[in-house]
Symmetry: C2
Subunit: 232 residues, 2 copies
């Protein structure tokens, strides 16, 4: 039997590359996305495009109303910051941080892994360009693996070990662009912007939120054109 992996696919460029890495490592990939009340719900359409283009075994979109918790510019009535300098992004915890989001998402991936007999979870987190999110750090990923061992029925079996793979962890955004292109990722299918502009049927990235700024910097430093359209 081909080993299975659960891959968190947000629709953004990082998780698209993480999915390509899971495929390249030989896993049968089961994609998991979250409809969590995010303001940039357009990323879910991108997640479907990415999952389909990469031929996943299945793709689940799980509904989860994080607006009941609030506390983030992505789920609450708080403005998304615009036009911050690159030097500012990555210092401190930004208002777009969704409290405990990766813990919540990995927990749900862990539940699905138990059901499907998978022991491998793939996430597109990245420590260098992590924008100050605490749950994108290596110590978080190791602590989650330790938790998974005692949290699950599968973890109590001898020799069972869940692994959280974060193949982008130590890459720059430019490195992610390069690696994605090597693996054949179509970045034109992805969506990164926190606060997109909708013009008729077109969805344009704002170009000025932290996510857009880091993405554009990555493509610029890689010397590649970004295929997604921008409003500015």
């Amino acid at each position: 039997m081909i080993p299975r992996a659960i891959v968190l696919v947000s629709g953004g460029m990082d998780s698209a590359v993480a999915l390509a890495e899971a495929r390249a490592a030989g896993f049968e990939c089961h994609a998991l996305s979250f409809d969590y009340g995010q303001r940039h719900v357009q990323e879910l359409a991108a997640a479907r495009r990415v999952a389909k283009a990469q031929g996943v075994a299945d793709h689940r979109v799980l509904r989860l109303d994080l607006r009941a918790i609030g506390g983030s510019a992505l789920t609450d009535d708080v403005a998304v910051p615009k036009g911050r300098s690159e030097a500012t992004i990555g210092t401190g915890v930004p208002v777009t941080y969704v409290p405990a989001r990766n813990t919540i998402f990995l927990s749900l991936a862990l539940g699905l892994a138990e059901v499907l007999g998978a022991r491998d979870l793939y996430v597109g987190v990245n420590a260098l360009d992590y924008s100050g999110y605490p749950d994108c750090r290596p110590e978080f990923l190791r602590a989650f693996e330790d938790l998974a061992r005692v949290a699950t029925a599968a973890g109590t079996e001898a020799g069972a070990r869940f692994r959280v793979h974060a193949p982008l962890l130590s890459l720059t955004k430019a490195g992610i662009v390069q690696r994605g292109l090597e693996l054949g990722v179509d970045f034109g299918l992805t969506h990164t912007c926190y606060d997109p502009v909708v013009r008729g049927e077109r969805v344009l990235a704002c170009g000025r939120c932290d996510a857009c700024i880091l993405r554009r910097k990555g493509f610029a430093e890689a010397g590649r054109g970004d295929p997604v359209p921008y409003a500015t």
Copy 2:
């Protein structure tokens, strides 16, 4: 300022006692329940009754579709076992185990704790009568505390430490009944059964699922009458 605690309130007897313990410890209590596609959705009405009766600061019911994951008799198309012996209950992992449920629920409680500035989480898990659920063991709770420290923005502050309180952890079901009565818990407001029988406007506990069997045993051993109605 009165310190705040997030209390997971399922509507069952255990979390009702955990909430009473959090109040007795002096916390301002913020109750959190989950509408996760459970077959015994009646427990949510009980959660509302329990939270209201104990005067919580607020009560959130978060929607989360665990049916997208499946794998449990509580969320999937799998029969709830009936009439098992007490000796059988607690050996092995039962089909009513929801994969990674407590990890998922605690993760969401952690997110809410960050938003509300709370550092204390209360859960009604119980190691003695835990029915073979891996995520009701002390080592799970300690691993979750370790994860919380590195998973959150608050956890990165010096001296910050999230605590997971499980005041029922080493109590028997009879001990939980006794402690609840000492704290003034109205067990008539709670709902425990996995597979209730609805007769008109009345909700009757089946009396034969694992949860009912353990509950009835607890009341019997405590020498108290169980105020909820049973079908058998």
